[in-house]
Structures are given as C-alpha cells and as structure tokens.
C-alpha cells in the first residue's frame, strides 16, 4: 500500500480527521505552552492566593484553583505532561513487548514457552492494579509512573507481536531468505518485524489514550506526577474536593482528558481501517 493511498483513506473518514486534528492541536499546544498560557508562572505552580477559586471569567476563562492559579494555563501545560507520559509509556512497552514477542514467535520452542509463561503471569493481574503495585514499590514521581505503566503494559504487545511473527514467518519470502542463508536475526529485523507492525501500530495508537487515562488515574491516586507539576489527573484529584461549590476546578482538566483519549481512539479506528484490507475494501 502506498503512502498516498493511506492518506487518501485517512482523509475520507471525517471522524479520523477530527481525531487527527485534535492530536495535532494538542501537540502544538504542548510545544507552545509557554507562549499560549496566559499565566505560565502559575501553571508551573506559583500560588496566587488573592484570586482563589474564581469562577470562569474573561481574565481566567477556566477559573482558578484553590491556590488561585489560572486553570486554563495549567490545563495547557498539562498537555505536555500527558503527552510525554502517554508516548513514553507506549514506546517503552512497545520496545520490550515487541522484541520479546518477535523472539518468542520466530524461534518458537523453549524460548517461546518461557517468554509466554512470564507474559501470562503479568497478564493475570488487572493492569491498573499491577501498575499501582509497581508504582507503590518504586515510589512516587512521573518517571516511576511511566515505568510502572510500561511494565504493566508490555505483555499485551508481546502477545500481539508473537501472533504476527508466527504467521509472518510462514510466508514464502521468509523461507526464501532462509534458503539464501540469511541469518535469523537479519530475517527477524528486515522481514518479520516490518510485516508484523501494522496491527501493533493500531493497538499502540488506541493505547495512547488509555495510557494517558491510566497515568491520570495514578496521579489521581497520588502515585504519579507530584504537585505542583501541572497534570490533568492530579488537577482532577485535587479538584474533586471542591466539585460541589467550584465545579470548574475538576471539570476542565477532566474534559481535557476526555477529549484527548477520544481523539486517540478515533485515530486508532481510522488507522485500523487503513491497515485492515477487509475494512479497506468496504471503503471503496
């Protein structure tokens, strides 16, 4: 499939355009946060006790929090945290999961057995619970939260990658490479990996949303990003106590989480349509 076709199909689906635009917008916001945020100092934690818990107004479109900080600014800066955490978690999990899955699927036998039993053990825990456990052990902080989430996440990619590797290694071009005496590692990297990636990329795109959500959950429970770092999950957590009288405090960061997760899911669906030939035909 050529690139132009991919783009063509992506653009045909209006929802995918919505998802894609939101994500592009988020990335731009994250990069330009210091320019876009009206009160960068407050976003980074500077208290402004004179204006505590102000409702949305012209000066503070999203209102202010219990320390008088501009919520809009903090939500804008929060995009940075969320995207960094989301990308890092998925990337790390992909790195571990896909390598192990490829090795298990391609070589099979005992290697496969050992890797998959370990994977099964990890999969036996509910992912969030496992992440919680690991985060508790490692201690608070953003880096530990990323590690905890990645560790609870990789087994899913291992399974997916192993399944793909098993089916791809049966293709004649892999056998042809073996017949030419190409080494196993080269075959794995040059032939099996690129042809196994499509469904994994779909999964990873969808998982971006979930990773952001779970990172928010960790923050909410006090195990992730620590105050005063601007983070959506943390803001919702702090804001929940004020919800009844000061609704804007948790609602705007909550909305930010919702929109971001939805955008990644929409994009994931679209990417799947591009990649899955059966769905692609339906689009014709």
């Amino acid at each position: 499939m050529r690139k132009e076709e991919t783009i063509k199909i992506l653009l045909r689906n209006k929802l995918s355009i919505v998802g894609l635009s939101i994500i592009v917008a988020l990335i731009i916001i994250a990069i330009l946060a210091s320019v876009l945020a009206p009160y960068p100092d407050q976003a980074l934690g500077e208290p402004n006790l004179k204006e505590r818990l102000q409702p949305p107004s012209r000066i503070h479109p999203f209102g202010t929090d219990h320390l008088g900080r501009d919520i809009l600014s903090r939500v804008i800066y929060g995009a940075r945290t969320s995207l960094v955490v989301g990308f890092s978690v998925v990337l790390l999990a992909l790195l571990i999961g896909v390598s192990l899955g490829l090795i298990a699927g391609y070589f099979g036998g005992k290697v496969d057995l050992i890797i998959m039993r370990i994977t099964d053990i990890f999969l036996a825990f509910p992912p969030l619970l496992l992440a919680l456990l690991i985060a508790t052990t490692l201690g608070r902080g953003m880096l530990n939260a990323i590690l905890a989430l990645a560790i609870s996440w990789w087994p899913w990619y291992t399974r997916l990658a192993r399944g793909m590797a098993i089916s791809v290694k049966e293709r004649p071009y892999v056998e042809a490479s073996r017949a030419m005496g190409i080494s196993d590692w080269k075959i794995m990297i040059r032939h099996v990996l690129p042809n196994s990636l499509s469904p994994i990329i779909v999964q990873a795109t969808m998982d971006m949303g979930s990773a952001i959500l779970e990172a928010a959950a960790l923050s909410f429970l006090g195990l992730g990003v620590q105050p005063p770092t601007p983070d959506w999950g943390l803001m919702v957590s702090e804001g929940k106590n004020y919800f009844l009288n000061y609704w804007w405090y948790p609602v705007f960061p909550g909305l930010a989480i919702f929109i971001t997760v939805m955008a990644f899911n929409l994009l994931g669906d679209a990417v799947r349509e591009v990649i899955d030939p059966r769905l692609r035909r339906r689009l014709l």
Binding site: R2, R171, P172, A176, S177, R178, A179, M180, K186, N195
Partner: protein, 337 residues
C-alpha cells in the same frame, strides 16, 4: 589401452554429472491429536523417495495435493530437516552438513515459489529484494549486479524503485527468479512457479526459465501439478502419490507410455485443449485421494486402482526397471502392458 579413457570412465562412474542425488528421503511431520491425552500421529509426507537429477537437466515432480512433492523439494534444500535418508549435491552430503557449512552451500541451491506476491517482502523495493543475498555474501558492485539481473529476467532499471504490489504477478515472478540467480546457483527448485499466473504470462515465464537454464547451465527440480507445463519444460519426470514415487522415466516414457495405473489415471484426467480429444469419455477416475495421515496399506494406490488385487492390499510393490531409465512401482507392471 588409453589411460585418459580409463580416467574418464572412472570419473563418470563415480557419479560426476549428477547434481542431485536423493536416497531414501523421508520427511514425517508429527500431528498431535486430542486435548487431554495427546496422541502423535506421523504424517508421512515423503516416504522413502530416491531419484537423481543430472547436470543441466530438468527433473519434473508431479502429483496431486498431499503427494509430498513440495515437501520433497524443501527437504532437499534442508528448509525442512529430513526424518531419514540422504541428499547429495555434487557429492557433498547435504544432509550431513553443519549449520555453518550449510550456509556456505546455500548460494548454490535456490528456490522459486508459487505465489509471486507472497514470496517477495512487500515492504522492500525490488532493488533491495534482489540486493539482499548479494549484501549478505559481501558482494562488490551490488548496484551493477542488480541491474544486470533485472535485465537478465526481462525487467528494466525503472522497476528497481518499485514495490512488489506496484508490478504484475508475472513481473513479481521475474523478480523472484532474479533474486534466486543473484548468487549464481547451480540448482533451482521450482515449486509450481507458474501456477498462480495467467496462461499468457505463464508461457513468458516458462520460456524465460528455459532460456536461463541454457545460458547459465542450471539444473532444475520442477514441481508441478500441471502435466502440460511439465511436458513442456522437463526432461525426465517422477510421479508421486501419497509420499511415494510410483513412476520415474523420461518425459516420453512416462507421458507416451505410462506404466503405473495412477499415472494413466492422472494423464487421462487432464483436460486437453482440444475438443476432439475429450478425456471425459476415456478412463474412469475412481474415488478420491485418501488422507495422507492414514495411507492405505500395501500399494497406496490400491483403493483407486482398477486393476487392484489381493496382493496390492497386503504388499508394497518394489520399484521395477521396465526399460532403461523407466521405473515403476506396481505388482502387475508386465501384465498391464
């Protein structure tokens, strides 16, 4: 007494001139049955197969699905590890080589597959596909060699930048041939190389294979279910049925004078492109191919053989040489003539 002549005799009698010698080759696959109590049944895909392929010759291997013809080809190349028997390539015992030794021999023996699209990695350009084996073995001038190969198979420089799904099936098959030729092989396994192609393209590829064989002195093992194609390209032919070779001979011996009842049934089943010679009115086809998991006892063909008698159910017939180079595995060879 001419000493030279003596040496020549010695050399030829030692088997020079034979590129591939297959002796009692066996390939069994374990099939597990049942969930709780696992039972292993052996699928005898190739069961005691022996033949030779001479230098520059095309040996056709024909048979229907489940006959083991493709497995034979792959086991010769040790893409499958044989269960038993020996394979010699120019007097090197392929089946005894270590992994490293095998890698050194690989360039000499290559394979072409049936489905032209799935035998090329869709994520690589044609150039990279053909260059892969050259780079692996540290060739110099990779670029020039790839272009030469493209030209040799009737493609041009403009194809090099394309991806497999941007060219036709016939062109893909030419790329696969170019890749196989990259390392200057002596022996090629052609596993149904034209079965997935349209007839007009099939003829182009068959002629290309014929031309390359002459130009580069290649030896072919040509595996096909299409007897018309085999007649066109092969010099000698072996007929397989349920893992056994039942008849071997020159093309003329087997096609014009088939001795085994199965060969006859097969030949009379092929639709002939000539309405005046409708095969439908000729020899009757009895039954279907039994499962290779549970092959019949004795002669494996007895369940479908119009001449089968008691002995066929009990005893497996031996290979009998009917005339020079024409071998048949049947109890009643003489009587059927």
């Amino acid at each position: 007494m001419n000493i030279l002549q003596g040496i020549l005799w010695l050399v030829t009698s030692m088997g020079v001139g034979t590129v591939i010698r297959v002796e009692h080759l066996k390939k069994y696959f374990p099939i597990t049955h049942g969930f709780i109590r696992k039972k292993i049944i052996w699928l005898k895909a190739v069961d005691d197969v022996s033949f030779e392929i001479k230098d520059g010759e095309t040996f056709g291997l024909v048979g229907e699905s489940g006959s083991g013809k493709s497995t034979t080809g792959r086991t010769i190349l040790r893409l499958y590890e044989p269960t038993g028997g020996k394979v010699y390539f120019n007097d090197i015992e392929v089946t005894a080589l270590s992994k490293q030794e095998l890698k050194e021999l690989r360039p000499k023996m290559q394979i072409i597959y049936q489905d032209p699209y799935s035998s090329l990695n869709p994520r690589l350009t044609i150039f990279d596909i053909i260059a892969e084996p050259l780079r692996e073995y540290g060739h110099e001038n990779v670029e020039d060699t790839v272009l030469e190969l493209l030209e040799a198979v009737g493609l041009s420089e403009e194809h090099a930048k394309k991806y497999p799904d941007e060219i036709s099936g016939g062109q893909c098959q030419r790329v696969a041939i170019a890749r196989a030729l990259a390392l200057n092989p002596e022996f090629l396994v052609l596993d149904e190389p034209t079965s997935a192609l349209d007839v007009s393209v099939q003829a182009q590829v068959l002629n290309l294979l014929g031309r390359l064989q002459k130009e580069r002195n290649l030896t072919y093992l040509f595996i096909s279910h299409d007897l018309g194609v085999v007649r066109y390209l092969a010099d000698r032919v072996g007929v397989m049925y349920l893992g056994k070779l039942v008849e071997i001979g020159t093309i003329e011996q087997v096609f014009d004078n088939p001795a085994h009842p199965y060969t006859r049934m097969l030949l009379s089943s092929i639709p002939v492109p000539d309405p005046k010679a409708r095969a439908i009115r000729k020899e009757k086809v009895i039954g279907e191919i039994p499962s290779p998991l549970h092959p019949p006892s004795g002669c494996r063909f007895h369940t479908r053989c119009p001449y089968a008698r008691e002995i066929c159910r009990k005893e497996e017939p031996a290979m009998i040489e009917l005339e020079k180079g024409h071998f048949v595995r049947c109890h009643f060879v003489g009587e059927l003539q």
